[in-house]
Amino acid sequence: MNIIHRIVNIKAWKHTTKTAAIIVMAAVAFIIIFSAINASQEEMMNNVSDQMKQTIEAEKDSTRKRVTVTYNSFGFIKYLSVSTSGASATKEAYIAFAGQIYPANEGFTRFTGLMVNYTYRMLGSGENILHGVKLTLLLTTLSMVIGAFLSVFLALGKISKNLIISKLCSAYIFFFRGTPLLIQLFVVYFAVPQIFGFAWTGLFQNPEAVYKGAFLAALIAFSLNSAAYCAEIVRAAIQSIDKGQSEAAKALSMTYGQTMRTVIIPQSIRRMIPPLCNEFVMMIKDVSLVFAISLMDITTISKTIMTSENNYLVFLPALIIYLIVTAIFTYIFGKIEKRLSIYE
C-alpha cells in the first residue's frame, strides 16, 4: 500500500524521479508516434531495384535461395536489406524513419542502417531467449543467484571447526578457482554426460533442445564456478566483522548458528555487495565462452558480424550494449548497498 501511495503522490516525488519520468514518457511518446507514421515492410520492399526483385521472384519456389531479405524493425526506425551471396555479392539496404525511406548504401545512412542491424542482432531480437543480450542477462543473473547462495555454505564450511568440512570446502574453492572456466564448461557439457550416460540435449523437447541443453550445462558450470569465487568474498566479509560481535553473542549464550544467522551474516552482506557486483560484471563477459557449446551471446554475435563485414563498426553498438547492461546492474547493486547501510 505504501508503495502505491508513494507512486500516486506525484507532488512528493524527488526532483530526479520527476525528471526521469518525464524523459521516459517523452521517449515512449516519440517511439509510438514515429512507429505509427513509419513505412511498412512492403513499402520498403517496393524501393528495391527491379533487378533484385526479379531475382527474388525467380527464386521463390526453389530450395536453394541465393537472396536473403533482412528486415529489422525497432518501430520508429527500420532497416531492410536485400543481399545476394557468392563472389559477386551485392547488397541493397534501406532505412525507414519518420515515414521516409532512404537508401542506406553509403555515408551516414549506411552507418545508421548498419547500427540498426547490428543492434537488432545483438539484442537477440527475433530469436529465442537463449540468444544475444537475453542470453547474457539470463545466464549471468541465474548463475550469480545460485552461485551466491551456494557460496554462503561454502564460506561457512571453510571457516568451520569441523576439519573434514573445512578441507572439503577449501578443496572445492581451490579447484574451481584454479581451473579455467572454459575447461569446466567442457567437462560439464561433454565429459559428465559420457560418464553418467545421458545427453544434455536429450533432457529437452525439440525444437531448440540443443540450445536448452547447452544452457542448462552452462548454468551449472557457471554457478559452480561463481560459487567458488563468491565464497571467498563471503568468507572475507564474514571474517571482517569485528570479533566483539560474536563474543557478545556468545556471552548472551547464543549458538553458533543463531549468531551467524542474526548477527554476523546480516552485517556482512553490506560488505559483500561491491565485490559481488564486481564478480557479476566480470561474469557478463565470461558468458562469451558459451559459443563453444553453441550458444551465441553479444560478443559472439559481434565477432561473427565482424568476420562477415570486414569492418569494426560492429563494436560500437556492442560496447554500448555492454555498458548499458553493466550500468543497470551497478545501479541495482548500489541501491541494495545503500539500503543496507541505513543503520550506519
Binding site: 566483539g244 560481535q245 557478545a248 556468545k250 556471552a251 548472551l252 549464550s253 542474526t262 548477527v263 543503520y343
Partner: protein, 256 residues
C-alpha cells in the same frame, strides 16, 4: 540462605597463550551478591581472567566452580572434567558480560538488541521479551531511544544499552570488562550510576576497572592483579589506604 557457599570459585586457574603464561594460578572465591573490583596494571591478565570465566577463553589448567558445582577442570590443556552440555548451557546463562567496546549489534535497534537473545536463547515470546526489554531499558534511563540505532547514540548511552542487553537475560553474575575505559570522561558517570544501582540490587558483579572511586563506593572487595597473579585483595578502604604489597602500593600511588 543459599544452598551453596560460593557462587563462583576458581582454583589454580592458569592460562597460557602458546608459551606465554598469562595467568599463573588464580584462586578466587566470590559470594553471592558480592561486588568484586579487579584492578592492576595493563597486561596483568585481568581481562583474560574474566573471559576465562564465561568461556570466551579456554583455561589451560585449573578448576572453575559455579554455585559450588565443578563446571570445568583442566590440566595441561586437557579437559579432565566438564559438565554435560545441557548443564553447561544453563550454567553459562547465569553469567552476563559487558565489554569495553560495548559490542552492540549495529544493525538492530536498541529495543531489538535487548530483545534478540531473550527470544532466541531464553525462548521468551515477542511480547514478553519486549516488555522485559522496555522495563530494563527504562531502568538504565533510555526509554526515549527504543527505536534508535546504536550508531546514533553516545558511548555512554551505548554502554547502558549493553548493560540492559546483558541484564535482560536475568543472569546471576555480571562480568564487566573495563566498561568505562573507552568512554569520554563526561560520559563515564552515567554508566557508573547504572552499575551502582545494580550493585545495590544485590547482583553479583566482577568488574575489571580503573575507576577507583566506584570501587571504593560500591565494591565489597578489591583484588589487585599483576603479572598474572593476585598479589593482594581486601576491602577497598583498607587496600587503598594501606596496601601491603609493594607493587600494589606503587600502582595505587600512580593511579590515585
Amino acid at each position: 540462605m543459599n544452598d551453596y557457599e560460593y557462587i563462583l570459585k576458581t582454583e589454580n586457574l592458569r592460562k597460557s597463550f602458546g608459551s606465554l603464561e598469562v595467568l599463573k594460578s588464580i584462586d578466587l572465591s566470590v559470594k553471592k551478591g558480592e561486588v568484586i573490583c579487579i584492578i592492576g596494571p595493563s597486561g596483568a591478565g585481568k581481562s583474560t581472567y574474566l573471559r576465562s570465566l564465561n568461556q570466551l577463553e579456554t583455561i589451560t589448567s585449573g578448576k572453575i566452580y559455579i554455585k559450588d558445582e565443578l563446571f570445568l577442570h583442566r590440566e595441561h590443556n586437557r579437559t579432565i572434567h566438564r559438565v554435560a552440555s545441557e548443564k553447561q548451557k544453563a550454567m553459562m546463562l547465569e553469567m552476563g558480560m559487558v565489554f569495553q567496546r560495548f559490542n552492540l549489534f549495529p544493525h538492530k535497534t536498541v529495543l531489538e538488541n535487548v530483545m534478540i537473545a531473550q527470544i532466541l536463547v531464553r525462548k521468551r515470546n515477542k511480547t514478553e521479551a519486549r516488555q522485559k526489554a522496555q522495563e530494563i531499558i527504562a531502568r538504565v534511563g533510555l526509554s526515549d531511544k527504543l527505536d534508535a540505532y546504536p550508531s546514533k547514540l553516545s558511548g555512554g548511552q551505548q554502554q547502558r544499552v549493553a548493560i540492559a542487553r546483558a541484564l535482560a537475560m536475568d543472569p546471576e553474575i555480571m562480568l564487566f570488562d573495563e566498561p568505562t575505559s573507552a568512554l569520554d570522561p563526561e560520559l563515564v558517570g552515567e554508566v557508573l550510576n547504572v552499575m551502582k544501582s545494580l550493585a545495590q540490587q544485590g547482583i553479583t558483579m566482577l568488574c575489571v576497572t580503573h575507576e577507583m572511586g566506584f570501587a571504593k563506593e560500591v565494591g565489597d572487595r578489591v583484588v589487585f592483579m599483576a603479572d598474572g597473579m593476585i598479589l593482594e585483595e581486601g576491602k577497598p578502604k583498607e587496600l587503598f589506604e594501606h596496601p601491603q604489597n609493594e607493587k600494589a602500593a606503587n600502582f595505587l600511588k600512580s593511579v590515585l
